[in-house]
């Protein structure tokens, strides 16, 4: 799951996937801005076939937070 997640993040933010880990956040990745964060959410929803709740999207402060949400949605592939 991590690998696919990192791949999508790297594609949307247009950065190498080696630069991405669970601690990646808007603070340490300048390509992460408020708008392409929504673009990312949209792509993840389509890619993993889930819908984030609005409050879930507000919880996300770093890449690792996605994983927690995925676990909640029981996505493990």
């Amino acid at each position: 799951m991590s690998e696919k997640l990192y791949q999508i993040i790297s594609k949307v933010f247009n950065v190498e996937s080696s630069k991405i880990n669970d601690e990646t956040s808007p603070e340490n990745l300048e390509e992460w801005d408020s708008f392409n964060f929504y673009v990312l959410l949209d792509e993840l929803e389509n890619e993993f076939n889930i819908k984030f709740d609005l409050d879930e999207t507000l919880e996300i402060k770093k890449v690792g937070d996605f994983k927690e949400i995925f676990e909640r949605h029981r996505i493990n592939d």
Binding site: N14, V39, E43, N46
Partner: protein, 584 residues
């Protein structure tokens, strides 16, 4: 393209655009009441794909009012060619969007009136203070009303309020040359409100259109951009077997091809009807098919369910030559650029072959399922034209007249004799309200016989035509086979001691018959009357205007530095076979 049509592709691709030294250029401003992030990136990429150099300007979030009303704003400083004004119905209606029944009938009427005035003022302010076209995306008609099934019983239900505003704005700007409406509700109808509007994205970032559908929305904007930059296609070239009808006529036979009666046959009939409609508004059709001529022409002439007949095709290449040679022939015969052609063929090998050899032809990927053909055709946005002129509507006839001319030419044999017998008559007319849009269209679309290839919008032609120091004239051409309409134009700049030919062009359909010489002679005669000795003009070479390369030289101009120069004391050889009527 294809898979890569999501927004992140466009956002990233926009960063990679480096070279955009294209001949076609456009400056696009997008003013919105909601978040319009991602729009400009997508439109830049889509322009780049179409070889249009594009600069964009975005208004700040919901600042469109100030930017339009302040004459020294960044928006006007940007000097857009086209401005998209995209307002969200929620912003325009405010609280009324949710509680439309808080107002009385009278107050609702007052509200509608005020909103219409407000919005049309914005539109007119832009057209008055800039040369920009303005495209107003009309207001989304809500799909929900608190009145439920009783909505229709209300004199002024919520939906009616919005419909009224849209309708009244449409009427208000109908006669504004530079203002157009983008039918936003048509866009919603096509993809569905549930897909286009995403509550989460709306609450998170005030997005009017969901991220997934932004690229689709930009396609709607591109229709206007294509039309304005003249990036439109003129001719659809069609294969026959499994493209215009189901099956292979040479193998299945006249009676067995699928056209009309069964589900597959119905899809081909509908496809043909869609093609016929485009043909009637001026898109030329041609055939490029590997077939026995007799088998194919029998279907075209005699099949009871055939919609398109011989007269709908301006060129028919039904033979065993390869598709690329046929396309070249078609382009030559119809005198239109290879890049004006769209090619439909069900065979993938043929498509790849054409793509490889003629990269300027737009090759359509037809799926194996013929039921999708009509949809593919109606969703192509390459036939847009900013105005449908009389010439567009007449074009189909003009090409069939052209065929008769060619036949006549072969009949007469000697070319000079042919010209004499053609009874060519040209009318020289000053630009006026009836011809300005056509003159602009000619400058945008004419590539071959165009000496300077300067592209002018309608507004610019209008301004030139009122300028005392400019001559803007067009030429209407008639001969024994029919009326070609306005097919030539020139713009001359009058300086104190010399005249400079700024633009000189002729539709390629009619070049080589001496009409170009008659036009130039008109300019020279005029100059003589006003005691002007020197006429100068440039030839600016492009990839396509080779046919005009030697025009000045052959006429007797001599090259002095950058200009071709003619002394009006010199004699000229009038083309005697042309009758000139001056209508000033």
């Amino acid at each position: 393209m294809g898979k890569n049509e999501n927004l992140s592709y466009f956002l990233n691709e926009a960063k990679n655009i480096k070279t955009d030294d294209f001949e076609k250029k456009i400056r696009i401003a997008i003013l919105g009441s909601s978040t319009i992030n991602g729009y400009e990136e997508t439109i830049r990429v889509k322009c780049h794909q179409k070889k249009i150099a594009c600069r964009t300007y975005n208004s700040n979030y919901n600042q469109y009012n100030q930017e339009i009303l302040k004459k020294d704003s960044k928006f006007y400083e940007f000097k857009p060619d086209i401005t998209f004004l995209i307002l969200d119905v929620r912003h325009v209606l405010g609280e009324l969007f949710f509680i439309p029944y808080s107002l009385s009938e009278l107050e609702k009427r007052e509200f509608i009136k005020n909103k219409v005035t407000e919005i049309t003022n914005l539109i007119k302010t832009i057209t008055n203070h800039s040369k920009s076209h303005v495209i107003f995306s009309d207001l989304q008609i809500p799909t929900y009303s608190p009145y439920g099934i009783n909505e229709q019983k209300q004199e002024f239900g919520l939906k009616q309020i919005v419909k009224n505003i849209n309708e009244k704005i449409k009427i208000e700007i109908k006669n504004e040359d530079l203002a157009y409406i983008l039918d936003f509700n048509e866009f919603i109808q096509k993809y569905g409100e549930e897909n286009i509007f995403n509550y989460k994205q709306y609450f998170s970032g005030d997005m009017k259109i969901s991220i997934e559908f932004i690229p689709k929305f930009i396609d709607e904007l591109m229709k206007f951009v294509n039309a304005l930059t003249g990036s439109t296609k003129k001719c659809i070239v069609l294969d026959l077997d499994n493209t215009l009808w189901g099956g292979v006529v040479g193998e299945d036979g006249f009676d067995k091809i699928k056209l009309g009666d069964d589900p597959i046959g119905k899809s081909f009939v509908e496809f043909q009807k869609r093609l016929l409609a485009l043909n009637q508004r001026g898109i030329i059709l041609a055939i490029n098919s590997k077939n026995n001529f007799d088998d194919a022409i029998k279907v075209i002439n005699e099949h009871p369910n055939m919609i398109l007949r011989k007269e709908n095709f301006s060129s028919m290449k039904i033979n065993w030559n390869d598709k690329v040679s046929n396309l070249r022939e078609i382009s030559k015969e119809l005198n239109i650029g290879i890049d004006s052609l769209v090619f439909f063929d069900d065979d993938q090998m043929n498509r790849e072959f054409v793509r490889n050899q003629l990269s300027d032809v737009l090759v359509v990927d037809l799926p194996t399922d013929s039921s999708i053909y009509p949809k593919i055709l109606t969703e192509m946005n390459v036939f847009e034209s900013i105005k449908i002129t009389d010439e567009d509507l007449k074009r189909r006839d003009m090409y069939s007249q052209q065929q008769k001319r060619n036949e006549f030419k072969n009949e007469v044999g000697d070319f000079n004799e042919f010209l004499k017998k053609m009874n060519i008559e040209i009318k020289i007319k000053k630009a006026n309200n009836f011809s300005i849009s056509r003159i602009s269209q000619l400058t945008l679309k004419t590539n071959q016989f165009n000496l300077t290839t300067k592209r002018y919008k309608e507004k610019e032609i209008e301004i030139f035509s009122k300028d005392e120091n400019k001559i803007v004239e067009c030429v209407e051409v008639k001969d024994k086979f029919g009326d070609n309409g306005i097919t030539g134009a020139y713009i001359v700049e009058k300086k104190e001691n010399e005249w400079i030919i700024d633009t000189f062009l002729l539709s390629c359909r009619i070049i080589g018959r001496g009409i170009e010489d008659s036009m130039l002679e008109q300019i020279i005669e005029k100059a003589r009357k006003q005691n002007i000795k020197i006429i100068k003009g440039k030839f600016i070479p492009t990839q396509k205007n080779k046919p005009a390369e030697n025009f000045y030289e052959n006429f007797g101009f001599s090259l002095e530095q950058d200009f071709w120069v003619f002394n009006t004391d010199n004699t000229i050889n009038k083309p005697e076979h042309i009758k000139v009527i001056k209508n000033e």
